[in-house]
């Protein structure tokens, strides 16, 4: 069970300026009663997009945005805090998001995302401000070089070397663990 490799992506950004976007925003808890990973695209940011009757909200930040050309989500500070639900990266991926950029990405969310080929990138505040101010900016995310490129900017970022290699090669972490684990019966 390998995952889809991620090497380089050039796409436009979708900007959500709110800080502390938690996993309850990314996918509300009432949708967690599923026993599958599938069918979560509609549930991603559900309560930001739809009202209680299922009608699209007038201030839906995703309104009219073609997700196939906007695969990079730029979120406010401290993105992905809250619960450990892996449904959050599953739902974002299902929606079409391939990369999440913020100044700070919460630990468990990052760990879950990288295991699902959803790349998380932390950038310094000045770069973050630039991206927040220019929704729709075309950005190239190069995981091999660990660089973001847009306009005249080349912004280095760092990824855990293990997670990076797994993503570049689309490796299966369970398989690696099964191989690596010696007899550990204590």
């Amino acid at each position: 069970m390998s995952m889809k490799p991620f090497q380089t992506l050039t796409s436009k950004t979708l900007v959500l300026t709110q800080t502390d976007i938690d996993t309850d925003q990314i996918i509300p808890a009432r949708f967690l009663t599923t026993t599958s990973r599938e069918g979560l695209a509609d549930k991603a940011f559900h309560d930001w997009r739809f009202d209680a009757d299922g009608q699209e909200k007038s201030d839906n930040p995703f309104k009219g945005i073609d997700m196939s050309t906007h695969r990079i989500l730029v979120g406010g500070d401290n993105f992905g805090c809250g619960s450990s639900r892996e449904h959050a990266p599953w739902a974002l991926k299902a929606l079409g998001v391939e990369v999440v950029i913020s100044t700070k990405i919460a630990d468990i969310f990052r760990s879950n995302s990288l295991k699902n080929s959803l790349l998380t990138v932390e950038v310094p505040k000045d770069i973050h401000d630039l991206l927040l101010d220019h929704p729709g900016q075309e950005v190239t995310v190069d995981l091999e070089a660990e660089e973001l490129r847009f306009g005249n900017h080349v912004v280095p970022f760092s990824t855990d070397p293990f997670a990076r290699r797994s993503m570049l090669e689309g490796q299966d972490s369970l398989g690696m663990l099964l191989q690596a684990v010696p007899d550990i019966e204590k």
Partner: protein, 468 residues
């Protein structure tokens, strides 16, 4: 010998393969707690690959998130919120049966919220690594374990190998100086700490809580504090085990047969004099009053005696709009429609005792709904043996079956849009307790006092008897 922190000692005890630059360490997991919400997709992966659970004996499952808190009907049908919730619980039953995992189900008087049952059964022990597909796994750090939440892919890893890839986090000690004042609880301590360091302030760190105020805490209060570590962004929170810990665990079913030998070993688990942390923070405990939150992130907290602060930025303005709050309003003027007492943060016996002390002989204000949900069957039984249920029912509150209930509002227990809910749970995120619900986090005493008053209330006059 170099001086080591509590965290380093526990880490080293459980490392199977040390970390390298291009590969994380492999950690042995001493207890894997499983529940219905974050496990089905992990079991599916095992099934697809024909793998059996490696150590069912180190795995313990319970059902808590999607389970109804209202009793079954006369025909035995449980009032699940949705068919999906029912299917999720049934899937857990099947998966546990297939893999020989012990499951605390509806017929088991040990069932409860996952972070209550581990300690109650004596399975949460000092010095081991404890994981669960739930971020509040940090609770078990109260015993000097390294306990943290994992995602579903990692749940699969642990089921298959009883181990995890893990990078060593940084360490931070929080020194609590002074002592807790009367009517102020571990919940208030935690909310004050989170307000001080911020919702992302401990991101990437394992916290050690230390100082005289921590040593003075009872075990249940320690669990409340460690539970909330994740709300400061921490990977885990830990407290060095001491006599309080050893006395609390003694005699519980899951503890080692030679208990005195175990205690001797556990007594080594403390931070050595001169050990260094990546960061240290001091919290002045004397100054802490009962706390309430006023925003949509747990770090927006202040003393209940204060007023809603001036919004610091656009985000705060938006949060106030969602919460229906005006700057400079006294917290005690804010009317409420509902309270929830329960969850893995504050659903233990001492929490219910404190709420009962406030509610005894008083009535819930007209128009306010008070939902009280014990965290486990054991807590329910103990509370009923003391007559706490009667105090709550006579006050006009509801007394339910154990489960997560309104902490996460997955099981049908939820608030209505626009309602202000004073809640003893851990997250005030938008929509967490139902769409449009405005959550105010507080201690059980504050929640109970607010139910009586009909508005946010300082519990201290109720505890001393000054209030009617």
């Amino acid at each position: 010998m170099t001086a080591k922190t509590l965290f380093e000692k526990v880490w080293e005890r459980n490392v199977v393969t040390p970390e390298e630059i291009d590969r994380p360490a492999i950690l042995h997991v001493g207890l894997h707690l499983v529940h219905e919400v974050t496990s089905p997709q992990a079991f599916s992966v095992l099934k697809e690959r024909g793998i059996k659970v490696r150590r069912p004996d180190l795995t313990l499952a319970t059902m808590d998130h999607s389970t109804p808190t209202l009793p079954a009907g006369a025909d035995g049908t449980r009032p699940y919120a949705t068919e999906a919730a029912k299917l999720q619980v049934e899937t857990l039953v099947q998966n546990c049966a297939d893999h020989g995992i012990e499951l605390l189900d509806f017929n088991d008087d040990r069932r409860g919220i996952v972070h209550l049952v581990g300690p109650e059964q004596g399975r949460s022990q000092p010095g081991i690594v404890i994981v669960c597909g739930d971020s509040h796994t940090s609770t078990h750090g109260a015993f000097g374990a390294l306990a943290f939440g994992i995602g579903t892919t990692e749940v699969g890893h642990v089921l298959a190998t009883q181990s995890l890839f893990q990078r060593k986090p940084k360490s931070m000690r929080i020194n609590f100086e002074g002592e807790l004042q009367s009517g102020v609880t571990a919940k208030d301590l935690a909310l004050a700490m989170i307000a001080q360091i911020g919702a992302g302030g401990a991101s990437g760190y394992v916290l050690e809580y230390a100082g005289p105020a921590i040593e003075a805490l009872e075990m249940e209060a320690r669990m409340t504090l460690c539970n909330l570590s994740i709300e400061a962004g921490a990977r885990a929170g830990m407290i060095a085990p001491d006599q309080v810990t050893f006395d609390w665990l003694r005699g519980r079913p899951g503890v080692p047969a030679d208990y005195d030998a175990a205690v001797k070993e556990w007594s080594q688990l403390y931070t050595d004099e001169g050990a260094s942390f990546d960061k240290q923070v001091t919290v002045n405990v004397n100054a802490i009053a009962p706390m309430v939150t006023y925003g949509v992130s747990p770090d927006a907290g202040a003393a209940v005696t204060k007023t809603v602060p001036v919004a610091a930025n656009e985000g705060a303005e938006e949060a106030y709009e969602y919460m229906g709050l005006q700057e400079n309003t006294s917290f005690e003027k804010i009317e409420i429609q509902r309270i929830f007492i329960g969850s893995c943060t504050n659903g233990r016996l001492s929490d219910l005792r404190m709420a009962a002390e406030v509610m005894r002989g008083r009535k819930v204000a007209p128009g306010v709904i008070a939902l009280i949900v014990p965290g486990s069957e054991q807590v329910k039984k103990d509370a009923e043996a003391e007559g706490l249920d009667k105090i709550f029912l006579e006050a006009g509150a509801e007394w339910r079956l154990p489960g997560c209930s309104m902490c996460i509002a997955m099981n049908g227990d939820r608030g209505a849009p626009g309602e202000v809910v004073v809640s003893t749970s851990n997250r005030n995120f938008k929509g967490r307790q139902g769409e449009g619900v405005r959550t105010v986090l507080a201690s059980p005493a504050t929640a109970a006092a607010s139910a009586i008053a009909g508005h946010i209330a300082d519990p201290r006059p109720y505890l001393t008897g000054e209030a009617a």
